[in-house]
Amino acid sequence: MTQVGNIARLRQGLYRFFGGALSHPGDEEFATLRAAGDVLQTFPIADFAYFGAWRRFQRALAGIPTATSLDAEYVRLFASGTDGALCPPIESFYVAKAEGGGIADTVATLQRTYHELGLRWLDAEAPDHIATELNVLSTLCGREADGWAADDARAAVRDLRRQNLFLRLHVLAWFTQFADRVRSASPDGFYALVVDAVDAFLTHDYDWTRALIERVEVEA
């Protein structure tokens, strides 16, 4: 495996991990999340600029005793309230409002994109939920890593392009607004640290994929 392939595996794990952190925290999922965090700690994350935000989040995660203690906060921020969720973690809430389209348009676009990528939406969350979108990116990183492992730079770069495009057209088109809402609604809470870490990682990953796409030489 090339070094860049190892990094793709790390990114695959981080996307899956962050997707889990922004899903509803059941007992089993929470235990898995913790275990995944411990595994990811063994990767050289300190090589990357998002390490500081990642570590703050990891430390906060270690201090959470059970999933139950996050349940109320998750529901208050992301699930429901008297006037709806404070910070809906779904793309259509932000993008449909900005572009004047309907929620169904955003979801339909995403489902079409998943189909084109050869993915089937099986997640518990909605197609435009942040956890779903992060899991899609995780899958694309896994494919990229497979490409590097097979010494197929062309396939790997194709998947890098897909990641970069999906980040630009979908996740980054709304994540900043979502994160600002979370920070505002719960400035000292656990989920503010989660969105800080995801924000740092997504920003870095967009730059990372773009830099690789521009630089990797694909042989004819």
Partner: protein, 476 residues
């Protein structure tokens, strides 16, 4: 703020080891993981040997310490540069600078990878190095009013103005920082350099030195130090980002000399020497106009003056968005006479209006990014006012003036201490033509007169409506 100063113990200068607050670590350049032994610091100054450390490793281990590596100040030192006193002055500057650094946001860093990655490079790709890049404060940016100063200044076309918004391409950016000092709204910031970092470093070096200090604004990518004695580097992302008033501010803060060091001879591919030379010209012309020896801002290395040209004076924010104006006014006060020059790299400007051709349409006001031009009211009159203390000579105002061909407005790239001190002045005034039915203002009278002169006698009925009635009453 706890600033730790950590030096690699290959130092051969024994005096340097006595400098207050200095922690030595054996072979730090080769093994930056030893930084873990330095606990409790918020900010870091590292004294390292040039070309003997790997920056990516230093950044990694700094990150593990919980310190943002972008804010770490690295002082390159070896015994050929001088004795312990010189090191002490450099460390004072670096520590002061480190103390006021602000952590980078995720948008303010980017990974820098090798230019091409072939199969072999992919197998053993080195750790990424991160470089600081600028970030636009969208709330402060005035691109919606037409400002595109950053796009004009950027040598790599990393900025593009489109539909009232500036798009920034991080990948194209080379972190030269010219956009930061050009933005008339102060809306662009980079963690690599800030007004407070420059200010703190100069003050600390002047205070720490026992002799007059020469401040050399130098590109941080240069591989050599100033050929002392007396000259100390103040590293900036690119020498071309340093406006002509910065060396003057350094002198006012107590430096004995100051210069901006061009880079083309050192192999810089950006080749900004024309900009650097222009900014140096501005500084020297300012000194000359003030009756002060221009060689205090020398074009080549020379001895630093034995005594600073001024008693150290207070400047509040000489390197900030309005710092050029503050520096000029302070300079004029120190020499007790007017300072006035005209130069194509002037960081300040003077707007003049020809009252016989200006129609008071106020388009210039709507695009002025620094709010130097504004519209006021004085009873029944409209006033076009100008505050030279805000003008950055961006040239937006003549570019949108519909009467510029008739000389209605001019933006001079001029430094004029009297005008800057004067406060807002009225450039033009006019009464409004009022609706004969409701009494509402229709438009400034000179604008109506101009329209009438253009239409002539061909459309008297249309003119009658336009001049006498407002939009709402034209159907009455």
């Amino acid at each position: 703020m706890n600033v730790a100063i950590v030096a690699c113990r290959e130092q051969s200068d024994p005096g340097g080891r006595d400098a207050a607050g200095l922690t030595f670590v054996n072979e730090l350049c080769a093994g930056p993981r030893k930084l873990a032994s330095v606990a409790g610091a918020d900010r870091l100054v590292l004294v390292l040997h040039r070309n003997r450390y790997v920056l990516a490793q230093v950044q990694k281990h700094t990150r593990e310490m919980g310190i943002d590596p972008v804010g770490v100040q690295i002082v390159h030192w070896d015994e050929t540069q001088g004795g312990s006193h010189r090191l002490g002055v450099m460390l004072a500057g670096a520590a002061a600078r480190a103390a006021v650094t602000v952590d980078a946001t995720p948008q303010q860093v980017k990974p820098v990878l090798p230019v091409r990655l072939n199969r072999r490079a992919l197998l053993s790709m080195p750790r990424p190095v991160y470089s600081a890049v600028p970030e636009i404060d969208r709330d402060a940016c005035v691109a919606a009013e037409g400002c595109r100063a950053c796009a004009v200044e950027c040598p790599k076309e990393a900025y593009a103005w489109s539909g009232g918004r500036i798009d920034y391409d991080k990948e194209a950016c080379v972190s030269c920082g010219r956009c930061v000092t050009t933005c008339p709204a102060g809306a662009i910031a980079t963690p690599a350099i800030s007004p407070s970092m420059v200010h703190a470093a100069i003050k600390a070096m002047v205070e720490a030195a026992s002799e007059p200090v020469g401040v050399a604004f130098m590109c941080s990518r240069r591989s050599e130090s100033p050929p002392g004695p007396g000259w100390y580097p103040l590293e900036v992302p690119c020498a071309a980002m340093v406006p002509g008033t910065w060396p003057i501010a350094a002198l006012i803060l107590g430096a004995g000399a100051a210069r901006i060091v061009p880079c083309t001879a050192a192999g810089c591919s950006l080749a900004h020497d024309d900009v650097v030379t222009g900014n140096m010209d501005v500084a020297r012309a300012l000194l000359e106009a003030s009756g002060i020896e221009p060689e205090l801002v020398p074009q080549s290395w020379r001895d630093v003056a034995k005594t600073p040209p001024f008693a150290t004076s207070t400047l509040v924010d000489p390197f900030g968005v309005e710092g050029a104006h503050e520096t000029i006014v302070t300079l004029a006060a120190l020499v007790e006479h007017e300072v006035r020059i005209e130069h194509h790299r002037s960081p300040t400007g003077i707007v003049e209006v020809n009252t016989s051709t200006c129609t008071m349409c106020m388009k210039c006001v709507s695009v002025c990014p620094a709010d130097a031009l504004s519209q006021e009211r004085d009873g029944d009159e409209l006033l076009l006012t100008f505050d030279a203390a805000r003008c950055t000579a961006c040239g937006q105002c003549p570019s949108v003036c519909p009467e510029v061909a008739r000389g209605a407005i001019e933006c001079h790239q001029r430094i004029d201490s009297t005008a800057i001190s004067a406060g807002p002045t009225t450039l033009n005034r006019a009464t409004a033509a009022r609706c004969e039915i409701c009494g509402e203002a229709i438009a400034p009278a000179p604008m109506m007169e101009r329209i009438a002169s253009l239409l002539g006698n061909e459309h008297p009925a249309t003119m009658g409506y336009l001049i006498r009635r407002c939009v709402n009453c034209r159907g009455s």
